[in-house]
């Protein structure tokens, strides 16, 4: 694909996604395109379809209709190849309870084919910056929710993926860990990764994300840079993202 100057390659492409659970329609033809180098914040009220979208993007759910491409690879036809580019943090991470922290991270590293020396070095570093060094020999089932969240985030960072898809990644994290998390995402993005973050933490999204999408009742109802959304929704840049969010969602 030949791109014009300043244009970025689309990394996540989802077109016409439809997903129903019985009689409940979660997604109604959702279109989402996220470009290389973006930190994209996906917002929406409860039940809007955020988690469903993210799960479809990592192939944990199959859409009833529509298709997804990750780094240009068709997710449905070449799932394993497409997912090799992805690091994922689920909404409520459940991790093998009987492995110890180090075993789990080594396990992930080997699944991703990270060379042994690099893997050890990265594990040391992430355990250190997320303050989990003392827990490396602990069984995962004995960790607190915040620690589990950190571990899930580390497992997503470990292969240095081109695409990060994260559902409420900072929930249960302490402020120090939240800071470390944001710094690491920025670092990965500077090195060519792209991040998609679903969150209800609007202040964080406002300051952290480069572009924001608001989803409601299974469709994307607004999208753009935060300032642009403010202008469009409320006619001024003085408004907060919270005010924009409420205006967009309430206004349908």
């Amino acid at each position: 694909m030949k791109l014009g100057r300043g244009m970025r390659l689309p990394v996540i492409e989802a077109y016409g996604l439809v997903k129903s659970y019985g009689s409940t329609v979660a997604l109604r033809g959702l279109n989402l395109v996220i470009n290389e180098g973006e930190i994209y914040g996906l917002l929406g009220p409860n039940g809007a379809g955020k988690t469903t979208t993210l799960k479809i993007l990592v192939s944990l759910l199959k859409p009833d209709r529509g298709h997804v491409r990750i780094m240009g690879i068709d997710l449905h036809r070449y799932r394993v190849e497409a997912l090799r580019n992805v690091g994922y943090v689920p909404e409520d991470p459940y991790i093998f309870p009987n492995l110890v922290v180090r075993e789990f991270l080594e396990f992930i590293g080997r699944l991703r084919g990270i060379p042994r020396d690099i893997l050890k070095e990265r594990i040391e570093r992430y355990l250190s910056i997320f303050d989990l060094q003392e827990k490396e020999r602990d069984l995962i089932k004995t960790l607190s929710r915040g620690m589990l969240q950190k571990l899930a985030v580390i497992s997503a960072f470990l292969p240095r993926p081109r695409v990060l898809i994260m559902d409420e990644p900072m929930s249960n994290m302490d402020p120090e860990a939240q800071h470390v998390f944001k710094e690491e995402v920025r670092k990965l993005v500077r090195n060519g990764s792209t991040a998609l973050i679903s969150s209800h933490m609007l202040d964080m999204v406002e300051r952290f994300c480069t572009r924001v999408g608001i989803i409601n009742k299974g469709v994307l109802i607004a999208e753009g840079e935060v300032d642009e959304l403010k202008r469009r929704a409320l006619g001024g840049e003085d408004a907060t993202l919270e005010e924009v969010f409420l205006a967009v969602v309430r206004g349908g």
């Binding site: 799960k55 990592v58 799932r79 394993v80 459940y94 093998f96 699944l111 004995t142 960790l143």
Partner: protein, 535 residues
Amino acid sequence: MRRDILVAGILFKNYVGSFREQRKLLAFQIFVVVSQIPVVLSVFLSGGHGGAGILDVLERFGVDKYLIAALLSFFLSLLFWIPIIRGQSRIRIMSAAEYSFLLSQPIEVDEYVVGRAIFGGVLAPLVGAVILFIYLPLPVALLNLPLWRIPLLYAAFILLLLYATLLYYTGIVITHLAELVGRKRILRIVGALWLMLSVEVGVLTSSVPVFAQLLGAPVAYLIVGLMSRSFFPFFGLIALSSVFSVSLVLFILRRLSRGVSPEIVTLIGAGPHLRDKTGKVEEAGIVRFAEMVDMNRILTSKIFIDLKRYKIFAIYKYGVPLVATVSLLVRFLGDLVGLFGGSGDLYEFWEFMGPIFGIVIFITIAALMVGSVIDEMKCFWIYRSNGVNDNDIARIIFVKLLLVGMIAPLMTAAMMVLTLDPLVIAAAFVVVTFYVLLMIPVMGWTGVRWGTRVKVSPLSPVLYYTEEVQRDPALQFIMMLVMAVAGAFAGLQMLLFFLVISIPYLIFVVAGISVLLVVIGERILRALMRRVEMR
């Protein structure tokens, strides 16, 4: 008391309400009745010889109905003393909704405690309804007792379970009260003394001392009386006193619970409960995944760590040889003192017991099998988002199910060593293996459905208690269906066992079909994996 029953009613309605609304209960009951026909057939095909064999062997051991009733009384009494000896001063519940919602309502703690005890006592027979349904009429069929005993047995058994629950709760409440006044240690010493004296006097006098069986006696004698050919003397009085005992313990529990604090109730959440325990693993016990290159080895090692830390391999390593050794010892010592008489009786007895052992062991590990799949499925996101092939996931789940399931045939065969008959040992092993392989797709399917749909606590010993399953009628139905299918297959397995004993070369046929079942089972799991969605 009205409010206690109200609490029990709310808990009960929360548990079965949605199920009833779906009108599946009736369909399920009909299904269970139909599915048990092979079991009933197999019992009658054995012509009651198995029952006679059991009685003959028991009599040679000097075991009569009085001793059985005394032992049952002792075990019932033990239920009261166990929380005291262990120092268990908390009622542990699994349902977060029950903990946070019900306890925040304007009800007294004593009303909750008694209501929950009643709920537990009523729920126990409900959860084990299929097992009760299958096994309770067996003594009636085996000992040619009148059929009117069956409904009485059901009623007595429900009374027994209610009484057992009440005794257990009373033990917890007493321990809690002792803790509040700083006398828990003394109470534990009293409990330990009771246990030591019971065992010591029992061994010295070759009987169960009265003080050891006092608490459980009325209900225990009622049950054993109903299962024997002749009743105990004053059986009417025993029946009355058993109802009186249940009422009395209920009253005592109510009075004692007035002094307890709300902290008596604790929620078993995966985190806080387990964090009390140390979670460190020794450096030497940590598996070095980083050193592994081959994907097969990485995934298989992961499964092996899981099973090792769930102590599954300890059963293979120590449990099976221990059971086989004990079986051998019993056989040789029995022969030495002429306990078994002619080997024909023993052979008959064990021939009958073989498949029953297999089924009982299988039922015991069934939750473990489903739990092991749930464990993997709850972590399915790790496999899939890291690009692991679905066939590889299916394979490791199959291996996990097989390794857990094979405990049943190995344990059964180890018990059959007592017969010293290679045919019985081999038949038990092959037939129970066949049964396990037959059940693997069912267990796999259940685990996959559960693990991907709901937030259940994996490897919970009684998965059915979990809040999410209670809320989901579809899952309740699945659970019931699995139990019914397991029961139906169990009946077929008993028939197959008798058939193999009569026509020995069938062992090879069954073994051959078993190999085929391995292939089919793995294929079914592969198909399941391809369709997995994590809701």
